[in-house]
Every structure is written in C-alpha cells, then in structure tokens.
C-alpha cells in the first residue's frame, strides 16, 4: 500500500519478497512501535490487515495515516529504509548501488569568481575596541 511495484519505473513494490525480508531483519529498535502499528491497523480494520479486501485496506490505511504518531512513523521508516537501498530501486533512480566508501563521489569545484562581490565588501564584523 505504501510503495507499489511500477512497470513504468521498473521497480518492485515494498512487498517484494527480498525487500520484505530485509524489513523483517531490520526492525531492531522499532519492534515495539511496529507491533503497536500492526495492532492499530487490526483494530481499525476489524481483523488482520493482510486478510482484508483491497478496497477495505485502502480505507484502513487512510484512517491509520490520519491518526499518525510514533508507531506509524516507525513502520513507514523501516519500509523506506529497506526499499531505498535495494539494488533494483537504486538502479531505477540512476544511483550506484554501492556504499560511499571507498570510491567516493565527484563534486565540481565551482566558479569561485562568484565570490567577487563579497570580497569587495568592507569588514562587516562588529568592532569591540
């Protein structure tokens, strides 16, 4: 419901098996909040969220998002944490699927003549003597 698969962008959904397994492995500090979130979803939906009909799920999700709170934030965060490091997703976004180190990145030095108007200013700090 949060991130569906897309043929347009050639990406899996967050319910993809590999991503879902990653989510389950990374609940860590959020486990209690996730439990609360799932309980809340079940309470709104009148049963386990996974067992609900698609239309009903959408209503439950909307109501859940409107309530907000730490459990919702934790649930969404762990989904995003795992989705946006999946190789297929990174490739679709034009990002290299690798850690920053050791290759690093290139950042252009830029045109330092942009500073010329600032260089021309008189000292602007407040004198204390």
């Amino acid at each position: 419901m949060i991130i569906p698969a897309s043929a347009v962008y050639d990406v899996p959904g967050a319910d993809d098996e590999k991503i879902f397994d990653d989510i389950l492995r990374n609940l860590e500090r959020d486990r209690d909040d996730i439990r609360r979130a799932l309980s809340h979803l079940a309470a709104i939906g009148g049963g386990a969220f996974a067992d609900l009909e698609a239309d009903h799920r959408a209503d439950v999700t909307k109501a859940f998002r409107e309530v907000g709170g730490a459990p919702l934030a934790a649930l969404v965060r762990v989904v995003l944490l795992c989705y946006y490091r999946d190789d297929r997703v990174m490739q679709s976004l034009g990002q290299e699927a690798r850690p920053p180190f050791p290759k690093g990145h290139v950042v252009e030095q830029g045109d330092w003549s942009l500073l010329d108007p600032v260089r021309a200013r008189k000292p602007m700090y407040r004198r204390v003597d």
Binding site: R85, P117, M124
Partner: protein, 532 residues
C-alpha cells in the same frame, strides 16, 4: 587504589583531547578517562550499503535512540530540542558535521554591546592565538578574506562549491547578502597523515576516509605519543573531595564494571554541557551537598542550545544530493545585532547540499509531501537530489530556568543517575528563528526553489550543549573563573562548553577547543602556584 596521577581528565572529546595534548609537554603524569571506546574507521556507516539506515540505529545522533552500552540516557521529554552527542574516543567530534566557525569578537561582549546576558571574562583577542593553533591541529579548510571575520588563514583550501553551492552563491549575490565558504575540519588536501576528502557525503556519523577531523585522529595520537594515558570504557561516577575541600580524584567503573578510585592532584572535566553538570551534581559530599563546586547554585543552569530553523525547497534540476560534505557555505549577513529588528543578537545561515535517498524519502513522507500508492514513484523522482536547504543557527541567550538536573528515576547501565533537561525556547530566540525563516524563504526563492517547507526547531538539533557551569569573575554568579578553575575547588577545572557565558550564533567546537588550549596554557603558566 590506583597510583596518584598529576592530572586526571574526564572525557576525550573536543576539549579533553586539546587540553591533554597541550599539558603533555609539562611531562606530568596525565590520565584521561573515557566512557566510550575507540571507533575504527571500518566501523563507520559509509563502509556499507546500510550507510543511511545506521543513522537510525548504532550511529543515531540521539543517544536515547542509539542506546549503545557506552551511552547514557537523557530525559529530554521537557525540551523541544533533543540532545545530539557521541560517547567514544573523540566524543562528539565523531558525530559532528565539521562546520568550524569561530565566535566573533562581539560575542564576548554582549552585555556591553547589547545590554543582555553577561560579557565573557576573556575576549577574542586573547583567544586568537589558540584559535590559530587549534586550526593547525584539527586541520581546517577554508578561504581567507571573509569580511565577516577578523583576518585568519585556514591551512587548507575550501570545500568544493558544487552545484548546490553555486546556486546558493548566485542567489545570495542577487540579494546582495554575505556568503562565504565555510571553515571546515574536513581535509581538502592530504594533511598530517589524514587523507583528503573524496566526497563520501556522509560526514556526520564518522568519516571512513579519515578526512574529517575527529580528535581521535588529530590530538590523541600526538598526546599519547607524548605520554598521556587514555583509558577507555571507564565511566566516572563522581569527583571526590578531601577534608580540605580539594578534589582528591574520581570514582569510576572500569571496562569490567569494577569500581575504581583514581586519585589525582588536578581534575579536569571535559564531558560537555550536559555530562559535566551531571557529573558535578552527582558529586555530593558534606562539603558540597548540592554538588561539587556549586556554591553559586548555577551548576546545570543556563543551558543553551542553538535553536536551528531549517528551511528547504526543491529546484527543477538535479543537484549534488548527498555527494560531498553536507555543509560548505555560511552567511553572516544577519549575525550582528541590528536595532531595527525585534530581537537582539543574530544568526548564521549554514547552507545544506542535499540528502541521500532514504533521508529524502523519510523526510518527505513525514511532511506529507511523498504520497503512498501509485503516485509515490513519480513524486519521489521530482524530490531526490533536487533539495536545497539552509538553517538559521540562532544565538541562544542564557536563562536560569533552562537547566540540567538529575532525573530522580532514570539511571545509566552503571546505576548512575541520568540527566534531565528542562528547556524552553525564549521569545528572543523565537523571533530570531522567524526572521531566519523569512530570509531563508527569500534565498530559496531567489535560488529558484519551490515547494518550500520549514522544520523549526530541528527536533534532533541539540548538537551544542553550553552554559551549565559558566565562567566569570564573581563566585556568586559563575562556577569557574576566567581561566577555567572552579571558584570553590582550586584543583578542579572545566574546559568544555559548560563554561560558556553566552552561545554566539555559530557551531561551537572551534571556540570550545580554543578555550581548552587557553586554559591549558593558563595552567602551565601558573604551575608553581596553581592552587593559590
């Protein structure tokens, strides 16, 4: 009981490392106790594919979230700004963004100039040689000639502008406002054994390249070679006093959890603006029933953060995203007091380059900007790498009701009472933040941004912990004297941000370290009669 040492330093971060290195040339026996451990470069998040995710786990900036065994909990429920720190060799220099401005000359004279708070008992001119020495030791990149500062010469060239910086520079020129490449402790050339920056872009939670100057790789190797002993995994419970009311040493728990007493001739506290008052308030004796060196009642009071007002927007071309150090420019157009405004003092703008894929998704989801469902992908692609941001880092003035006390219930894993924070943002700071947001919106508009949003204050923005054991010449209105010695205990010194009288409107690490070097020099000059 352990052998008595000449100098015992508690805390190995920005100030503890600087004071240890400076005192090492006295050849005294110096020991530093650090509750955390060494962090290996290979441990830093940017080594792995989970580099962003670890900002929410073992490298979270908030210690309550991070919750390592070496961390202590902080009750910050009654504060709109949560503490950011790190416990390990290097302290919070492991977990900072390496933005390295100095305080301004005017920051030391706020009572004289603006009629608020108090003047410092030291001034910029006194600290200037220590700023320069610290710039050399930490390795600062930057560009000489900034009209917002007295002249100084950073030893390395500035960080690259990049696409984001160039866009900001043009916008600031259009508005006619000051901007300048930041002084930063990120090495732009190979420097003193450190490799130059390769734009990992994930600087805050430690630099795998070693380009960011944390004190574990700057001051500590020199201090250790000079004979200073650094003991890790040692958590100090209290400073003890003898019958004469002098500090006699500290009680700490070693790596095995065993209680130890380390006697010392001189004790120096370097535990930051929360850790130091916590330790002092936990150091209760018949002589000091309200905490050591607390006859003024000011230990823990006058806590200052810098409230951060973050404003950001999105432009129509991809910029640098998370590539490159996140901060590379500042503006001090609105730093000094302007009587035409409805607040005193001022703020620095620090310009943000961008964020990574996960952070963009989380921030935009929380803000309601990133939808769930079918539109998620198309919207996200207009956000990622299109963000530019700037934060007003606002001077916070001291108020006694903003304070650190001991929590009656919360304790760390060693059973030591944890700190509790009670803090509100003042009316003056709120006006300053509003001013910063309004000006930031002008900047972003000039830079071609739309979809402008605000986070004010930044919730997890308590990087700067200041003022809770302030300096002064009056023992009734201050905790330490003008060279860092406690008025009440003449062999107890404080060198961290606790001793700040006011906060300025800049990141404090440069000034914290310059002060620590100044205090170390003051000690060395008075060795023959240090306790008089």
């Amino acid at each position: 009981m352990l052998d008595k040492v000449d100098v015992l330093i508690v805390g190995s971060g920005a100030s503890g490392a600087a004071v240890a290195w400076s005192l090492a040339d006295t050849r005294m026996r110096i020991v530093c106790l650090e509750q955390g451990d060494w962090v290996k470069p290979t441990d830093y998040p940017s080594n792995g594919r989970d580099w962003e995710a670890r900002l929410f786990s073992d490298f979270a900036i908030n210690p309550n979230r991070r919750a390592r065994p070496t961390d202590y909990p902080i009750n910050d429920a009654n504060s709109p700004i949560k503490v950011v720190n790190f416990n390990g060799v290097g302290g919070s220099t492991i977990m900072y963004t390496a933005h390295f401005p100095r305080m301004h000359p005017s920051d030391f004279k706020v009572r004289t100039l603006d009629g608020v708070a108090d003047d410092w008992p030291v001034d910029y001119a006194t600290l200037e040689p220590y700023f320069a020495e610290n710039d050399r030791m930490m390795g600062v990149s930057g560009l000489a000639g900034d009209p917002a500062y007295p002249p100084h010469q950073p030893p390395m060239p500035p960080l690259p502008l990049g696409k984001s910086g160039a866009r900001f520079g043009k916008a600031m020129n259009q508005l006619g406002w000051h901007w300048w490449p930041s002084d930063s402790t990120i090495a732009t050339s190979d420097y003193e054994g450190r490799a130059r920056c390769i734009n990992l872009g994930h600087c805050t939670p430690g630099c795998a390249q070693g380009a960011k100057a944390s004190t574990d790789i700057t001051y500590w190797p020199h201090a250790i070679r000079a004979g200073v002993e650094l003991r890790t995994m040692c958590r100090v419970r209290e400073v003890t006093v003898d019958a004469q009311g002098m500090a006699s040493g500290v009680i700490y728990y070693d790596a095995e959890g065993k209680e130890q007493f380390q006697p010392a001739e001189v004790v120096i506290l370097a535990c930051n603006g929360v850790g130091t008052p916590r330790l002092m308030l936990n150091s209760v004796s018949a002589k000091f029933p309200n905490g050591i060196a607390n006859s003024s009642g000011l230990v823990g009071k006058n806590l200052m953060f810098h409230p951060y007002a973050l404003t950001y927007g999105y432009v129509d071309e991809p910029l640098d995203g998370n590539h490159g150090p996140p901060l590379c420019l500042w503006s001090q157009e609105f730093y000094e007091t302007d009587r035409k405004r409805d607040f005193v003092r001022g703020h620095t703008f620090q310009f943000g380059r961008g964020v990574g894929a996960i952070m963009e998704a989380i921030i935009s989801s929380n803000a309601g900007r990133l939808p769930w469902g079918d539109d998620h992908h198309s919207v996200y692609r207009k956000l990622l790498n299109h963000r530019i941001s700037l934060s007003a880092i606002c001077e916070d003035l001291p108020e006694e009701h903003n304070r650190v006390t001991l929590d009656p219930d919360l304790k760390d894993s060693s059973g030591i009472p944890a700190p509790r924070l009670d803090y509100t943002i003042s009316a003056n700071s709120l006006k300053m933040m509003d001013h910063g947001i309004a000006r930031a919106k002008e900047v972003l508009t000039a830079a071609g941004a739309s979809n402008i949003a605000v986070e004010s204050p930044i919730l997890n923005g308590g990087w700067h912990l200041l003022g809770t054991a302030r300096m002064g010449t009056d023992p009734e209105r201050s905790v330490v004297n003008e060279w860092g010695r406690c008025h009440d205990v003449k062999n107890l010194f404080i060198v961290d941000g606790s001793i700040w009288v006011t906060s300025g409107g800049v990141n404090p690490t440069s000034t914290i370290q310059a002060l620590a070097l100044y205090i170390a020099d003051s000690i060395k000059q008075r060795l023959a009669n240090l306790f008089d």
